[in-house]
């Protein structure tokens, strides 16, 4: 009979002596002292043999609190071979490089699938069941926080505002519940031309956007884009995504201390940007459809995006799309044009250095001031608004939820646009273009 060398600890004691464990023919474990004396003996099924794990010491524990400890893993395995004790299925996986490779592959695929489909699906479900009251509170808190930092009261005249509201009404009236959206005007010298939706249906446009608008259909496209964010509750989904990513990493690695580490935060930020680009794509698609439904040229949004891009990215390097929350403008323009019937003048091939738009994601919703991560190209002279936040650039991004409110007016026809070509009120001084 084979045996293994180790130490025997007396019952419930740290006192130990060198010893040798053997397995007899009738499945008895015997621990023998150096002089051959019998220190302990028990049936194999009445002792607990610790499972092999790496190369850590193994224990045979007796019911009375005695313990035989050995570092001779292979010897113990050999002794117990065929008995079914001591060796685990998991250990076999860990010991085989082939199974380790399978595990690595499984992990890679499962993680990718979870990130690709799991987190978006869970966030989507959570967004659907979030009570409107919560959505509203979160949205208004966000707006308040922004009002205290990046946003100021609009400098548009009442006339300009009502003209814009009319255009907004044309878009909301095409929705199932036209009363769910509220248009809000703000001056945002630090952000620049932009529009974003809060989860409760509040859609904010900055004064700086108007100078860039050349035709009604363009701003209508922007509105439709934001409305889509609201309809799909993109904002709420972003909030949930932001909290699910680190939680997932912690659960999978089994190491909660990883939360807050750069190694966890960074992939989180990149992933969120990736999810956000999907939302933007969806909002663009919806906007094109809404424009078509309204009898407008679906390509109008594309023209507008391209113009913003031209304005902001011409001279500076805009962030690459994999970093941005928005797809590259050239891609967005291309897809929008594709959807449009008349292939307009805009040449998709022109591909500007894409600006990836920024976006003030509603994630802001959670943290006040910190709202956005946007990357904004800073325009020419523009003061870059105190530089605080991020850069921004395009219209629409952000998400939405749905809630109440008002003012969608009846859709009179496209009146003249509020100060087209800019100038007018577009305070902010920075009139681009």
């Amino acid at each position: 009979m084979s045996g293994v060398e180790g130490q025997y600890f007396y019952p419930k004691s740290a006192r130990f002596v060198p010893a040798r464990a053997v397995l007899t023919g009738d499945r008895l474990i015997q621990v023998l002292g150096a002089d051959g004396s019998l220190l302990a003996q028990a049936a194999l099924k009445q002792v607990r043999v610790s499972e092999r794990l790496g190369n850590i010491p193994r224990h045979i524990r007796f019911a009375d609190g005695a313990d035989f400890e050995t570092a001779d893993n292979d010897g113990l395995d050999a002794m117990l071979r065929g008995t079914g004790y001591g060796r685990s299925f998991i250990d076999r996986l860990e010991r085989s490089w082939r199974w380790v490779a399978v595990a690595a592959l499984t992990t890679g695929l499962a993680s990718a699938a979870f990130l690709q489909y799991g987190i978006p699906a869970i966030s989507y479900s959570l967004a659907q069941v979030t009570p409107p009251g919560v959505t509203h509170t979160v949205s208004q808190k966000t707006l308040q926080a922004l009002d205290g930092t990046w946003l100021r009261p609009s400098k548009l005249t009442e006339k300009q505002k009502s003209a814009a509201i009319v255009l907004f009404g044309r878009m909301t009236n095409l929705q199932k519940k036209p009363g769910d959206y509220l248009l809000v005007f703000r001056d945002a010298p630090g952000i620049g031309p932009n529009a974003f939706a809060l989860p409760d249906g509040t859609i904010v446009v900055t004064d700086e956007i108007w100078p860039l608008v050349k035709e009604d259909a363009e701003i209508e496209g922007v509105f439709a884009h934001e409305i889509s964010h609201v309809n799909h509750k993109h904002g709420l989904q972003s909030i949930y995504q932001a909290s699910l990513i680190p939680a997932t990493i912690a659960v999978v690695t089994g190491d909660a201390s990883q939360i807050g580490q750069i190694a966890t935060i960074l992939p989180g930020v990149l992933l969120q940007s990736a999810y956000s680009r999907r939302f933007e794509q969806q909002a663009d698609d919806d906007a094109a459809a809404t424009l078509a439904k309204a009898g407008e040229d679906p390509a109008a949004l594309a023209r507008f995006l391209q113009r913003m891009d031209d304005n902001f990215c011409k001279k500076r390097a805009c962030a690459p799309s994999w970093l941005g929350s928005h797809p590259q403008t050239s891609d967005r323009v291309f897809k929008l044009l594709h959807a449009a019937k008349p292939l307009h003048a805009l040449s998709p091939t022109k591909t500007m250095p894409a600006l990836s738009a920024e976006q003030l994601k509603a994630q802001a919703a959670t943290n006040e001031t910190s709202s956005a991560n946007t990357k904004t190209p800073i325009k020419k002279g523009q003061t870059s608004g105190g530089g605080k936040i991020k850069p921004v650039a395009k219209p629409g991004r952000t998400q939405g939820g749905g809630d109440n409110s008002n003012k969608s007016k009846p859709p009179p026809k496209p009146q003249e646009k509020p100060d087209s070509s800019g100038t007018r009120g577009s305070g902010g001084g920075a009139r681009q273009d």
Binding site: K12, F16, L53, I56, D67, A104, T106, G254, P377
Partner: protein, 356 residues
């Protein structure tokens, strides 16, 4: 293995801790853990946790023997289910009634001492060395003072008393741990811990201000020679870079404080008033390990993680030693399991394996 009982010097002598784990070995355990955890939608995580703990305990040696970890995965699973249920209840109720947050704060404040004791008991009773388990004897009121009251005082004084609160916490943590009924006890002066925090703040603001001035000076010099537009290209990323750099400096400060306070409380610790612990972790070395680990983990999309963990454990462990006043074998030979077998096995039904 040092199975030479008897016959060792009786004079105080230093016994080094040693870590024998290997990155490649742990990688295989880790990747199998993750794959099974994913395939079981997280349930296997409890078993994965036990394997991981066993691996690190079982590779930590002193005087020829390794530590061992005994927790039952089922118990950890139960703890996780309860924790998850509470989290769900919390988010649901606060979503519907935001005011409920305050109620939860009160509940948490009342529960935290119990939860901490329960968790520390769970961990210590499931840890053993030479066939003898550790234990934790903290009681509710003391835990409340150390983990709720003191931090509140620290916060109320705008952090002025925070180092003192940290001392209270470390005292509570160390002084209620036992090994076979023999107490661990730590003692260090309040002045020392304040010095550490001051030094940490000095590092943070020193680097921040010094660095800003240096960059400002360079930028000013550059501005004289180059046109401004060049710098403007950087404008979009500047805020981001500033945040990143501040975060890095802050992390450095945290590591410094954590390591120094750890050293301080370990170096003040004695077991059974005779065997002293020594920790000689260098904050700079630890900061380097953390930073390089982070970079490597990112570059390998996570695959370096097991090596990073083993590397950190090896460094920390090898900087730790025990100055035994007498022969350790003789000391442990006297130590017997103090808890009843029932106490050991049951470890209290309410003791949860929730990691804190």
């Amino acid at each position: 293995m040092g199975d030479n009982p008897a016959a060792v010097a009786v004079a105080p002598h230093t016994l080094a801790f040693e870590f024998r784990g290997k990155g490649g070995e742990f990688f295989r355990i880790w990747i199998v853990n993750i794959a099974l955890t994913l395939l079981t939608l997280g349930v296997y995580g409890a078993w994965a946790k036990v394997r991981t703990q066993r691996y690190f305990y079982g590779n930590t040696y002193i005087a020829g023997h390794a530590f061992d970890y005994h927790a039952s995965p089922w118990r950890i699973l139960l703890g996780r289910v309860i924790a998850l249920s509470l989290l769900l209840a919390y988010s649901l109720s606060t979503s519907i009634y935001p005011i409920a947050v305050f109620v939860w704060y009160l509940i948490f404040a009342a529960f935290i001492p119990w939860l901490i004791n329960s968790s520390l008991r769970f961990i210590s009773r499931n840890s053993s060395y030479r066939n003898i388990r550790f234990n934790f004897t903290g009681a509710y009121v003391e835990a409340f003072i150390a983990y709720v009251l003191w931090p509140m005082v620290g916060g109320a004084t705008l952090g002025l008393l925070y180092p003192r609160a940290r001392k209270a916490r470390d005292y509570y943590y160390v002084n209620h741990h036992t090994y076979g009924g023999r107490f661990f006890e730590t003692e260090f002066s309040t002045a020392r811990i304040y010095l550490i925090y001051l030094a940490g703040l000095g590092i943070f603001f020193g680097i921040l201000i010094g660095g800003s001035m240096a960059i400002g000076a360079i930028a000013a010099a550059e501005a004289k020679q180059h046109s401004l537009p060049d710098l403007k290209i950087l404008a979009p990323v500047l805020p981001f870079m500033f945040i990143l750099v501040s975060f890095a400096i802050y992390s450095l400060m945290s590591v410094f404080i954590d390591v120094m306070v750890f050293n301080l409380s370990i170096n003040g610790t004695a077991l059974d008033k005779q065997h002293k612990l020594r920790s000689r972790v260098s904050p700079w070395r630890m900061a380097w390990i953390r930073i390089s680990n982070t970079v490597l983990i990112i570059l390998t999309i996570g695959f370096f993680y097991p090596w990073a963990r083993v590397r950190t454990a090896r460094y920390q462990t090898t900087r730790l030693s025990l100055i035994a006043a007498t022969d350790l074998d003789e000391f442990t030979a006297d130590v017997t399991a103090s808890q009843s077998a029932i106490g050991e096995e049951v470890a209290g039904f309410f003791d949860l394996g929730i990691g804190l």
